[in-house]
């Protein structure tokens, strides 16, 4: 004896729900599909006013756009630079954030609260506030146009320190006390106890840093002036500015920048989604 209302809610609502979600998902993925189709479409370069395609155009599908792109710019070099920056920053940042996180979580020293608040406060400061003097510093020290200009400021992350502190705080104090009674030095405690136990937070931090590094644009665009030093995002932007008329080639370059992240994302999605959620909700 159920009323009309509850019948609607039980039977029809879930169906509408699913249909809306599927339409939404299609419209979210459509740009990716269009990118894939057009970057393989050799006619996309001609600037003809052809109707856009949603399926691989017969007769003109091939790798020509990619070959053009590889001939025009050193994409492999861009990849290498980006990977080099990302890996270095991740390794250094993880160590550094765990260092500071351990001190804030388990350390007893005068000024701890003040330092911690100082660290947190820097999270609010937008990069744009200090990018000009930072550029001038890099310019005067001769680091402009080297990858160090991106790696060095990337070592410290206030947000990373915060995440590490929150996590290490949750580790039981008894382990550390036991280790100290055994005569273990703090440095040894850090490397043999804290680091191995902090694997989850290290994973989260690495994922967030990797995404941020790979997709970073403004700072690399400012300090990397030589083509051989470009990262992939800078490369895409420069290529678009110079060869924007060739839609096929430009889309091929854009695909090359997007594809590795998306492929990695499909393999590591659980990880990435979890990392982003914890990163956001720990605030």
């Amino acid at each position: 004896m159920e009323g009309f209302h509850s019948k609607v809610e039980r039977i029809i609502l879930p169906k509408i729900n699913t249909i809306v979600l599927i339409i939404g998902a299609i419209s979210f993925c459509l740009p990716f599909w269009w990118l894939l189709v057009n970057s393989f479409d050799e006619m996309a370069n001609l600037g003809l006013k052809l109707p856009p395609v949603l399926w691989f155009r017969e007769g003109s599908t091939g790798f020509a756009n990619f070959i053009n792109a590889f001939d025009a710019i050193p994409i492999v070099r861009y990849y290498l630079n980006t990977v080099l920056i990302t890996v270095t920053v991740i390794v250094l940042q993880v160590f550094n954030c765990c260092f500071a996180g351990y001190a804030f979580a388990k350390g007893v020293f005068p000024g701890k609260r003040i330092f911690f608040i100082l660290f947190l406060a820097t999270m609010m400061i937008p990069f744009q506030l200090y990018m000009i003097p930072l550029y001038l510093v890099m310019n005067e020290t001769g680091l402009v146009n080297t990858l160090f200009a991106i790696i060095l400021p990337g070592i410290h992350s206030a947000f990373g320190v915060f995440l590490a502190t929150q996590y290490i705080k949750g580790l039981p104090d008894s382990i550390f006390e036991a280790a100290r009674i055994e005569g273990c030095s703090e440095a040894r405690i850090f490397f043999t106890i804290v680091l191995p136990l902090s694997k989850p937070v290290i994973a989260t931090l690495s994922v967030l840093t990797a995404l941020a590094c790979w997709n970073d644009f403004l700072w690399p665009y400012l300090v990397l002036l030589k083509e051989s030093n470009f990262t992939i995002t800078v490369g895409v932007s420069m290529f678009q500015q110079q060869n924007g008329g060739y839609m096929g080639n430009t889309l091929a370059v854009a695909l090359l920048a997007i594809a590795p992240v998306v492929i990695l994302y499909f393999f590591l999605q659980k990880f990435i989604i979890k990392g982003i959620t914890t990163g956001a909700t720990k605030h």
């Binding site: 740009p31 937008p126 200090y130 070592i155 430009t250 982003i276 959620t277």
Partner: protein
């Protein structure tokens, strides 16, 4: 590398050391000797912060009081701030930033929340939808903005093609080529790129609503939609505040997509120039470092204001 490479870093480095020593002095020497090693754990962070954060922030403030192009400098007091506030281009960039932020947030958060509620009520394929909606977020803003630039191209683009298919007159829809419509492309892009994040945060908020509340509501005879309205929505308040806050701050820093769509001037007719693009134009287009720093400080003040207002909101609720 030029000579005096190290010397340039010395100033900020010594500043940190002095700061440390003051702390140590204030705290007293005895406790220090026992706890000195903890400072060593903080040392790398402090050094990086001093050289690449504290010093540039202070230097930025100094620059904002000078007329500077990187070679010559002259002290002019607050004249930079006065010029910036009176500059119609700056006001225009503020307007653009606010316009894009407002539409993006008022559309993005409800859409994201509704999608998240729908995904949450799905049993089997929850993960798949989550993955698909979040996918745009992991791609670089630059590369996907390039993609959108072509998608919204008036005669070769996908959007006008699809609109024609469903019978919309597109002859006047120039999208990025016309100042009237260019902002909407940015908003569409921001929605596409950012809604996955909203969905994800809303989902984790939804899953933290206690089940007992729903049980109680259904015992009282609430239907699914009523439950959503009376139980879910009020309990999502902290999530919404977080999303509004991060959304506002992110929107104030908007640069990469508008830069790809219309360069640092936000062409056509500065219709897309955001505050950060304005700072960029002043600094690296006009080499007016003083004015750019002043504009950056104004942006910082706005961000601080937004943060404080949001913080007050959360604190007020907790009491």
């Amino acid at each position: 590398m030029r000579p005096f490479f190290i010397a340039k870093f010395a100033k900020p480095f010594f500043a940190v050391m002095i700061l440390l020593m003051i702390t140590i002095f204030v705290a007293g020497r005895k406790t220090l000797r026992e706890n000195f090693h903890w400072y060593l754990f903080l040392l790398p962070s402090l050094c990086i912060m001093a050289v690449f954060l504290a010093y540039p922030i202070a230097e930025s403030f100094r620059l904002s009081l000078f007329k500077s192009n990187g070679f010559t400098e002259a002290f002019i007091g607050v004249a930079n701030y006065r010029t910036i506030i009176a500059d119609p281009n700056f006001l225009n960039s503020l307007y653009n930033t606010g316009y894009i932020a407002l539409l993006n947030l008022t559309l993005g958060i409800p859409i994201g929340f509704i999608l998240a509620s729908m995904i949450n009520s799905q049993r089997k394929v929850q993960a798949l939808f989550k993955i698909l909606y979040f996918m745009p977020m992991v791609t670089s803003v630059i590369a996907s903005a390039v993609l959108f630039k072509y998608m919204f191209s008036p005669d070769m683009g996908l959007v006008n093609f699809l609109l024609q298919k469903i019978g919309v007159e597109t002859a006047n829809l120039m999208w990025l080529s016309s100042p009237e419509t260019s902002k909407f492309v940015v908003i569409f892009f921001a929605l596409w790129h950012g809604t996955g994040y909203t969905v994800l945060i809303c989902l984790s908020g939804l899953q933290s609503v206690p089940d007992q509340l729903y049980e109680a509501a259904s015992i009282d005879g609430c239907g699914k939609i009523q439950q959503w309205w009376h139980v879910t929505l009020p309990n999502m308040r902290p999530t919404f505040i977080f999303l509004i806050m991060t959304g506002c701050i992110g929107a104030l820093k908007r640069f990469e997509d508008v830069f790809t769509f219309g360069g640092m001037l936000g062409a056509p007719a500065r219709s897309m120039q955001t505050v950060v693009a304005y700072i960029f134009e002043q600094a690296f287009g006009a080499f007016n470092f003083g004015a750019a720093s002043a504009a950056a400080y104004i942006l910082f003040a706005i961000i601080l204001l937004v943060t404080i207002i949001n913080y007050r909101f959360t604190m007020g609720k907790d009491k």
